[in-house]
Amino acid sequence: MDQTLKDHLVAFLLRQGDNTLVLGHRTSEWCGTAPALEEDIALANTALDLIGQTQLWLGYAAEVEGTGRTANDLAFRRDAYDFKNLLMLEVPNEDFGRTILRQFFFDAFQVPWLDALQGSTDERVAGIAAKSLKEALYHLDRSSETVIALGDGTEVSNSRMQAALDYLWPYTGEMFADDATDAAMSGAGIAPLPSTLHTGWRGKVAEVMTSATLTTPDSTFSHKGGRTGTRHTEHLGHMLATMQVLQRSHPGAAW
């Protein structure tokens, strides 16, 4: 593999692992504080799945990079500008409504995305995708059901879900914004162009928003800069400060 393709593959793998890590950490912030015990357990289990997937993605990223770093180094010893996650996943949880709607937007992307990655020419990518897809499908069932229950719930739950939708919507476009790394992955048969999934995602979202009696904004404006690492929100640094404090203070500390 030539160096340019290898660099793109590492960037691609970091995007996958950083997405699951950042969303996994945000979701874990609910542990012990969710609105109901069942939801607390569900959120903690969802976070656990996402962090498990992170070990697979970042583990492979570290191997391909080949400089001796491990998945743990990548998770706990990189700074905000090295992270390549979607901006949507790093913004604060705010309330349960925003948390579950974000999970739905992500799940509705991950399911067809991981499904396509199962056919990757890179068999490690295909294996991680097949493993993660089973978990993502389960997450999608729950997040879409819960979005519908809250949207089509009481006046209060509906208005909070609509506020969450208005807030998150401008962040969703970044999932489908192709760049040079996506072109390189697509050219090598490792991954499809994310933009090819946009229509299907819009269809799934429209179906669930209709059942949830929520109104999708017309705007096509999209915040960008997370996948490339060039412009994260101010929230990521604060999140990493909490997530990374132990490894920053005691590098290499282990159980």
């Binding site: 962090i51 498990g52 070990q55 068999e123 294996g127 493993k131 978990e135 389960y138």
Partner: protein, 156 residues
């Protein structure tokens, strides 16, 4: 303590079938379907395991329990390999394991996506409480006949 000399793969499988799942101790790691392969070459044993869920915290304990159990039978040259493809599925649960789950009070997985019946009173009048439960592999359900809540082993 015996010393491993002419051990066979069948013997290793039988020993592994006595290693309980750390979170659901009524079934073995073989019943759970996480043992994917066993080979014996010149007295060196290689066991290939697969995780149930990618983040399942029990996997480290399972690996340690396998090492301990086999060492008791004199297997000291053990290599543990982890494989994620093809991904674990509840189809790999043994029939013995499914039956033991139900006796223990955990409804075994069903392709339909929910428990067939209450593991306590066997009523088919059941409802979901939560899609998740006390471990990554379980969900919480309730019987509307005997009113007992119970765990359901998620079907994936």
């Amino acid at each position: 303590m015996s010393v491993a000399t002419d051990i066979t793969t069948a013997q290793i499988w039988a020993w592994l079938d006595t290693v309980p799942d750390p979170e659901i101790p009524v079934i073995s790691v073989v019943d759970l379907g996480v043992i994917r392969d066993v080979t014996v070459t010149d007295g060196r044993v290689k066991v290939t395991i697969t995780p149930t869920y990618s983040g399942c915290p029990a996997m480290a304990v399972i690996a340690m329990d396998i090492e301990t159990a086999l060492a008791k039978h004199g297997v000291h040259q053990l290599e543990l390999d982890t494989r994620i493809a093809p991904p674990w599925t509840t189809d790999w649960l043994s029939d013995k394991g499914r039956a033991r789950l139900e006796t223990y009070g955990i409804a075994p997985p069903q392709v339909a996506g929910g428990p067939e019946r209450c593991p306590h009173c066997k009523s088919t009048e059941v409802e979901k409480i939560s899609a998740f439960g006390s471990t990554p592999c379980k969900a919480q359900w309730r019987c509307t006949a005997c009113l007992e809540p119970f765990d359901y082993f998620k079907c994936i």
